[in-house]
Symmetry: C2
Subunit: 370 residues, 2 copies
């Protein structure tokens, strides 16, 4: 399915199961998912070709493909928890989130789906926040909520929970880093229950998944991606909130930062963001003024760049391309130029390697062998 069209018809159950199998298979992430669907036309067709592609990529062991039984079991367990797995364009999939290149192909949604269709503002900040930071996060969240915005955050300790609590009545969205049955931190289970009354919780992770360190930045891209902009309330230097701000910026989202005294280390990150161009805000009105023009903007669902794959590269070409790769990140464009192969062939070989777990993709079109 092309997210660009945002169809109102829902998926068939069979197609939903196929998509779930595809995204839950080894080495398939949101970007790979899109490539495969685009090339093979459907999740079912892609699933049929996966073993062959991974084998050609030189997988050292057979790639684990999610079975139909496992996918069905996840779907049923999710439904028992009140979690619906939905795809871009379906009701309850945050519209701005579907703009991302790496939008989750299936998002586990629990709570009031209407809340996910309204304009959202992310609020993030230190887990170890000051009393003033907590108070200000509450004020902002309350005022934004009153103005009709849904406040999005990560259900963490500190600023996150303060923002959620102050916007429960207006609807607030918690973006989880683990599965819906693995709430972190555990003491926020009650907060989660409370916010589900008018808001929602979302996760792209399977049930049973316990969030680990690298899952948090991945989750943070959903906080910013679903939102018109993200407010960083308090942040030390080198904190997770600054990662969220960076991702928000890369996604074309507004970045807002709350200033603080240079003598307060918890303001070092936010003051630094303002120096780098983030918008200084001191009240909800500053945020609303900045996002109002964007709210009227149509979704930026870019036509997928035409990046076709090749049918089946010949063995010589494949060997040549693999030989050009190493542990040092290399530009895709350089690979195409040096190999003399067509872009479609190079992309196909890289996809095979990735499915085989042998390729790492870095930012800026750089790839390396693992």
């Amino acid at each position: 399915m092309d997210t660009r069209t945002l169809p109102t018809t829902d998926l068939t159950d069979a197609e939903r199961i196929d998509r779930l199998r595809l995204i839950r298979s080894d080495n398939v992430g949101p970007r790979m998912f899109r490539s495969l669907i685009r090339h093979f036309g459907s999740a079912r067709a892609a699933l049929e070709r996966l073993p062959d592609l991974a084998r050609r990529g030189g997988a050292s062991k057979p790639q684990r493909i999610c079975s139909e039984a496992d996918a069905r079991a996840e779907l049923e367990a999710s439904e028992r928890l009140g979690v619906r797995l939905i795809t871009p364009g379906e009701d309850g999939y945050p519209p701005r989130l579907s703009e991302l290149d790496d939008a989750p192909p299936l998002l586990g949604v629990r709570g009031i789906r209407d809340a996910l269709m309204r304009p959202m503002i992310g609020i993030v900040g230190s887990r170890n926040a000051s009393a003033a930071g907590l108070k200000f996060a509450s004020l902002l969240a309350h005022d934004l909520s009153d103005a009709g915005f849904v406040v999005t955050s990560g259900l963490a300790r500190g600023i996150d929970q303060a923002a959620h609590r102050a916007s429960i009545e207006g609807g607030t969205v918690a973006v989880l880093a683990g599965g819906h049955d693995r709430i972190y931190p555990p003491e926020h289970v009650d907060l989660l229950s409370a916010l589900l009354g008018h808001g929602a919780a979302i996760s792209e992770m399977p049930l049973g998944h316990v969030a680990r360190a690298h899952d948090f930045p991945r989750r943070n891209r959903l906080v910013s991606g679903a939102s018109l902009g993200v407010i960083v309330v308090e942040a030390a230097v080198r904190s997770g909130s600054l990662i969220t701000a960076r991702l928000a910026n890369e996604q074309g989202r507004e970045v807002f930062a709350v200033p603080g005294s240079p003598l307060d280390p918890r303001a070092a990150g936010t003051n630094g963001l303002i120096k780098q161009g983030a918008t200084l805000i001191t009240e909800a009105a500053d945020v609303i003024q900045a996002v109002e023009p964007i709210m009227g903007r149509p979704l930026d669902l870019r036509e997928d760049e035409s990046e076709p794959l090749a049918g089946d590269p010949d063995a010589t070409e494949r060997t040549h391309i693999v030989d050009l790769l190493g542990p040092t990140p290399t530009l895709l464009d350089d690979l195409i130029r040096l190999s003399g192969a067509s872009p479609a062939v190079v992309r196909t070989v890289l996809l095979e390697l990735e499915l085989a777990g042998r390729l790492e993709r870095h930012g800026g079109g750089l790839v390396s062998l693992i």
Copy 2:
């Protein structure tokens, strides 16, 4: 004298006395002083014409013209205090200050003149500052002083005195709102004595002048005008420091502001300045980085726009122009258009009215009758 040429030769005593008489005469401010010198060629020639001009402007009582005896007495009393009255281009007249359209024609300088020739940074802020604000002002002033900058401020309570105290060793400049013998606040007389060891105090006011409310904004234009940029450390909304920031901006000086928590009313002014485009700073290095490119820039001593006066407008023209004026501010350009008189004639009539104490000049070329 044309400040553009910044001559290294000093004035003769006679010319200094004439200039002092002219600027100390009723209704002659720095801009009027420049017009008169430009039109009549010397202070002596202008002094000879003053009574006639003011009479034509319809002065209700004879304009008070500073006598040679009074001027000589001020000069001698100043010298007994260690204050030298100097003119733009002379040693000890801050070079950046001479860029201003309303640069004082004579500046009373006391202390180390070398300090006045070095690059300056203004530091201003609340008189009623917080402990954190005072500490940060001290840190900044100390670090800027260490880096070779002269810190300029207004000798006031709060931020001003903290900035002066922390930069005494490197040289700091106090800009006074009253005369050199009327130090305000009186408890800062010792601070002033201490800073004169490596720094200086400057005033454009005559000895004996006690600063009143409207003298402070006038003084603030000298703090910013002498400096490459001005730092506002802490400021509530509607505070004098914000006036300094506005003047600095109008003068083309850099405006720096120290951020603070939105919950702190003493940061409301500085956060507001940042929203309006001031540069957020959290350390001296931020300031130095911003002013370094400007330091290499030659002085912006614009060629005086050619705005000649007329010899002696005829009575009909004068009456017509005065009739067009009223208490509502009117644009000079409209006056020229509506009167049908030449720009030189209109400017001359306005100068006469101003000398007679009947004209008020507002910003943006607006004038009104008093």
